[in-house]
């Protein structure tokens, strides 16, 4: 090795992790065992992966719809990055659902070829944003809940869910920080931004109720040490929301509404609009690969 350049010894010419080349990435599921844990009904695990996967998939699509519409170029990149993080989580979860199901459906089949009633996400994920403040309020609720959930999933008895949780915690931590930063910035900003941020949290935060209502599948998997009872996340969620509201000079969070059955496939017309857009290309080109 030559030492003509003092910095040369510090750069790894032998590997491909030089910066700016898009390399050095790792597979979060590399070497993780894929067997379904003992005492777990595979159908429950499939349903659970669809719930968490569809939340991420549909939320990601809504974030993608902000691309070219965000108030600033820099924030557009931030929203696209968050959408891509969630899409990555959705891919892993839908792939897991397809493998456990065992009927040959892969992530694409599950994302692009299911009917609306087969989706298992909560209503919060599909809601159309009235403005940027609504998006930020929704992202704060979603990422606060999801960070608490993923954090607990890291100790799941299912190694795949534990690995997805470990990967997702780092992502959701940033999503929550981004959303909280904007809620504070707008809430503690001008009279106009405060009024609009307040309208957004009043309109969006009650939808969080559905996130914390335990579904039978969640309760059975929580008892088996594989899933998480969402009711146990409520304290952390309430603490975070209360603190963000306080710093943002907003009134305390409004009471939560009862859920609308999204976990059982009950969705509004907004999902039809989302799926029409999301599935159009795949349905027009059956078996297409890209």
């Amino acid at each position: 090795m030559s030492f003509d350049d003092a910095y040369e010894a510090l750069t790894d010419h032998d590997d491909d992790t030089r910066w700016a080349y898009g390399t050095g990435f790792s597979d979060p599921l590399a070497g993780v065992p894929t067997a379904v844990p003992d005492g777990v009904d595979p159908a429950d695990l499939v349903a659970y992966c669809l719930m968490l996967g569809d939340d991420a998939l549909v939320m990601s699509h809504r974030l993608q719809q902000w691309v070219t519409r965000a108030p600033e170029l820099e924030d557009e990149m931030a929203l696209a990055n968050i959408g891509l993080d969630l899409l990555g989580q959705a891919r892993l979860l839908l792939t897991r659902a397809g493998e456990v199901e065992g009927t040959g459906r892969d992530e694409d089949a599950l994302a692009y070829l299911r009917e609306p009633a087969a989706f298992r996400h909560v209503r919060l994920a599909e809601r159309l944003d009235d403005d940027f403040a609504h998006l930020i309020a929704r992202l704060l609720v979603f990422s606060t809940w999801r960070l608490a959930l993923l954090d607990r999933l890291t100790t799941s008895r299912d190694p795949i869910l534990a690995a997805i949780g470990a990967k997702g915690v780092k992502e959701a931590t940033y999503h929550r920080e981004y959303a909280a930063g904007w809620v504070v910035r707008l809430g503690d900003g001008t009279d106009v931004s405060h009024t609009r941020m307040r309208a957004a949290v009043d309109g969006v935060e009650p939808l969080a109720g559905e996130l914390f209502e335990p579904h039978q599948v969640e309760l059975r998997l929580a008892a088996a040490g594989v899933g998480v009872d969402p009711a146990t996340l409520r304290t952390e969620y309430d603490d975070v929301l209360a603190e963000v509201h306080r710093v943002a000079t907003l009134p305390p969070p409004p009471p939560l509404q009862e859920g609308t059955g999204g976990r059982d496939g009950v969705h509004g017309p907004e999902l039809v609009e989302i799926l029409t857009e999301m599935q159009e290309l795949a349905r027009a080109n059956p078996g297409g690969v890209w």
Binding site: L10, T11, W19, A20, E72, M77, A78, N81, E177, G181
Partner: protein, 98 residues
């Protein structure tokens, strides 16, 4: 007061360190409302592909730079001072470890 509101965020310069031991390198610029937002934006714009382990952001109008007109006065005088380079000097054989 409302006349003072700028409708464009200030510009920041972004420096990223690729890995421990290397210098921060200027990678580009961005707009943000304040330093904290600039840091977040820098993370989103310039470190999406494992480029860095550390980020600096600096307000562009805080950067003081030499101008093109200063070029001769600033840099030309060093052109003929060859004795400022270590290779100008011959090393005696009795000096070890060089």
């Amino acid at each position: 007061m409302s006349d003072d509101i700028k409708h464009e965020w200030p510009l920041f310069e972004v420096f990223v360190r690729a890995k421990r031991g290397l210098n921060h390198v200027h990678v580009g610029s961005l707009r943000a409302a304040d330093h904290e937002m600039a840091l977040h934006h820098a993370r989103d714009l310039y470190t999406r592909r494992n480029e860095g382990v550390s980020i600096w952001v600096v307000r562009s109008d805080d950067v003081v730079s030499s101008g093109p007109d200063d070029k001769d006065a600033f840099f030309a005088p060093s052109g003929d001072k060859v004795y400022r380079h270590p290779t100008y000097y011959s090393i005696p054989d009795s000096v070890p470890h060089i």
